[in-house]
Symmetry: C2
Amino acid sequence: MITHAQPPGPPLIGALLRVPWEVVRERMLAGLHARGFTDLHAAHLNVLQYPGPDGLRPSELAAQTRMTKQAVNYLLGQMERLGYLERRDDPADQRFKRIHLTRRGHRVIRAIRAVVGEVEAEWEQELGPHSFAELRELLVRLSSLAAGPT
Amino acid sequence: MITHAQPPGPPLIGALLRVPWEVVRERMLAGLHARGFTDLHAAHLNVLQYPGPDGLRPSELAAQTRMTKQAVNYLLGQMERLGYLERRDDPADQRFKRIHLTRRGHRVIRAIRAVVGEVEAEWEQELGPHSFAELRELLVRLSSLAAGPT
DNA sequence: ATAACGTCGTCAAGTCACTTTACCCGCGTC
DNA sequence: GACGCGGGTAAAGTGACTTGACGACGTTAT
């Protein structure tokens, strides 16, 4: 432990959000590997991020994840080869494609939710049920106004 | 807006932490660019992350940011060339180096805190002072037990 | 004293997740 | 039927890393 010349000041909301978020992210990846999905990397979590890519067009997913459509397609190509999803033609419009999760893909989504559920349970235990419920509700409000302050 | 066959379930704590964190991260970078620090990229924020690298050894910073020391050194080299910091020999032990922020480096740290302060003020306005204070306190508890559950 | 050892910082090469640029292909419009 | 547009994709280039190796310094054992 080192004390600095100038005090760091109060903890910033940036660090306060970053630290738990990184914990969740690491637990997700470790949990997937532990459940046998050893061929998934951290980058693939971006494609699987809530609520999942099933039924979306690649461009929609790109907009949602704030990546270029090429970057998304690069990851989709890998995950298709690994058997997690398929890119089929949209029957209504031949210009579009639709992402369809395979059974394995759906299992991954469930696995992620299970892992996050574990983390939530641990935190609920540590913070107490009341505090944890309050935290969740505040985060819901925060992330809804952060996403679209309509 | 598309409704899916299977309901997405309640919003996961992962997404709830990720969305606001990404907002903060984007605001930090945009704020630095707006204040004239246009030569900093997203990766440099990892080096500057709370409470900042001043006085640390490269290895300590690597451990803190969970990067390899080579990755940290790569970024430190860039930021040294850009005039944000210097790597000097530790006077007590010639094996070590110490990171010293330059004046410009200290200005960046202050700029980041100012930007995050703006975001905090906005969120406090939207959530109300009481709710925001509660959110911060809960996040402090959460990220302290996430970091080291001693 | 000096030799062995353990880290720290760093150089070099390789890898991976992207970005940039460009193109083709359906569909709707003029 | 030519046109424009937007979506998906292929190819090359870039940046942020990882992996592997190594010399320098200080600490410990001989």
